[in-house]
């Protein structure tokens, strides 16, 4: 067939479904110290699965990165970033409903 078959294939997984992350994984992926991840847990942005040692669902990574980016880029504290994230979630679910109704959102 074409050249694309000569390219190597990679082991992949769907982050949100097949992955559990440790506190260390999250710190590394977000390039932050553990205190900031712990603060995001205290604020309810991230919810660990079960008790210590903490494990996080794959979706936590995306949420943590958005909260930390907002915190860093817009000079707002993590509580403010948590509020923004909740509002963004709400906007996204409203957009999803509009899409279902047939708009282009």
């Amino acid at each position: 067939m074409s050249t694309e078959n000569k390219l190597p294939q990679y082991a992949i997984c769907i982050l949100e479904e097949q992955t559990q992350l440790t506190l260390d994984d999250l710190c590394h992926a977000c390039s932050v110290r553990a205190e900031q991840i712990i603060e995001l847990v205290d604020l309810g942005v991230l919810e660990p699965l079960g008790r210590e040692p903490w494990k996080f669902g794959g979706a936590s990574l995306h949420r943590a990165r958005i909260a930390l980016r907002l915190h860093h880029d817009l000079d707002i504290d993590l509580a403010g970033a948590a509020l923004a994230l909740e509002l963004l979630d709400e906007i996204e679910s409203l957009r999803a409903r509009l899409r279902v109704l047939g708009g282009n959102y």
Binding site: Q9, Y10, I12, I14, L15, H62, G102
Partner: protein, 312 residues
């Protein structure tokens, strides 16, 4: 390279105070932050804004930039004047996310600002993770697919210049993946330090708009036009689904907007999504005498007031 009009990018006058510049930056940063804004070019605007602010917030860099003069226009072909930089010494400091700054910035303020000042790397440090978005079609998720994607990766060459290289990857799109989910390719990010593992590559999945279906998670929505008699009397009609054409029974007495659920005909998964068919009654045009006669006959014979609920 192109001249960048940092004042115009920030929407401030050339004689703006540092406070005005800071306020303008904060306001625009909220507007164009890629996590907040849905504008297509938000990311580019945000980067451009960061670069402009990096220069204008810093008295030394701003003075140096101002020295180029006010006669340049954004986008104009530019090369730094001879002896550029001779009278200035930049105290530097970390430029934060400067890796994406333009060549224009780099030619004025040097490449060292672009490195981002990460400091010394411990020998066990894991390489950086990379993040990118991939656009796929609904069919790719429905059946699973292998897609060739090209990533533009900034790299530092032997002279310390940042160059962009194309990296081509063959990626398996797992069956059932949803918009907004991420594929993780272990070890496909930046190489680690001497004894460190390589970082990972994360691909965020986005769907191209589909001509037929609207997508919500794993559920699909399809508008299905039906005739008034199909809706009134019931009928079996052909309906496209991502898995192929099927026959759907329209129940007798269906109204416009009725939602019929085809269980597990959406995007596969655990649980699989459903396909919702929304009936839309299409009126035949009254463009022949025979058609007009039929409408007249209905008007005479059907005792129907669609506005009864409005009290008229």
């Amino acid at each position: 390279m192109e001249y960048k009009d940092y004042y115009k990018i920030m929407g401030v006058a050339r004689n703006a105070t540092q406070d005005e510049i800071k306020r303008a930056y904060r306001k625009l940063a909220r507007k164009y932050h890629p996590d907040v804004s849905k504008e297509a070019d938000a990311e580019a605007r945000f980067k451009e804004l960061g670069e402009a602010y990096e220069v204008l917030k810093d008295a030394e860099k701003r003075a140096a930039y101002d020295q180029l003069g006010a006669n340049w226009k954004g986008g104009q072909e530019f090369s730094p004047p001879p002896n550029w930089n001779s009278g200035f010494e930049f105290s530097g400091g970390s430029a934060g996310d400067a890796a994406d700054f333009s060549d224009f910035f780099a030619s004025l303020f040097g490449r060292e600002f672009r490195a981002g000042g990460t400091g010394r790397t411990p020998p066990h440090a894991k390489g950086e993770d990379h993040h990118a978005k991939v656009l796929i079609d609904l069919e790719d998720s429905y059946q699973g697919a292998t897609r060739t994607i090209t990533l533009r990766v900034p790299m530092v060459d032997s002279q310390g210049h940042v160059v962009t290289k194309d990296r081509v990857l063959n990626v398996t799109i797992p069956k059932g993946i949803r918009a907004g989910q991420h594929i993780r390719l272990s070890g496909q990010g930046s190489p680690g330090a001497a004894q460190g593992a390589a970082g990972d590559l994360y691909l965020e999945i986005e769907f191209r708009p589909h001509p037929l279906y609207r997508i919500d998670g794993r559920d699909l929505y399809l508008d299905l036009p039906v005739t008034p008699w199909e809706a009134a009397l019931g009928a079996t009609v052909k309906v496209p689904t991502p898995g192929g054409i099927i026959e759907l029974k329209i129940p007798e007495g269906s109204g416009s907007g009725r939602k019929l659920r085809l269980k597990e005909r959406g995007i596969p998964g655990d649980p699989p999504g459903d396909l919702y068919v929304m009936l839309a009654i299409a009126l035949p045009p009254a463009d022949t005498e025979a058609a007009r006669d039929l409408y007249r006959k209905m008007a005479q014979e059907l005792n129907f007031n669609p506005r009864a609920k409005l009290g008229v």
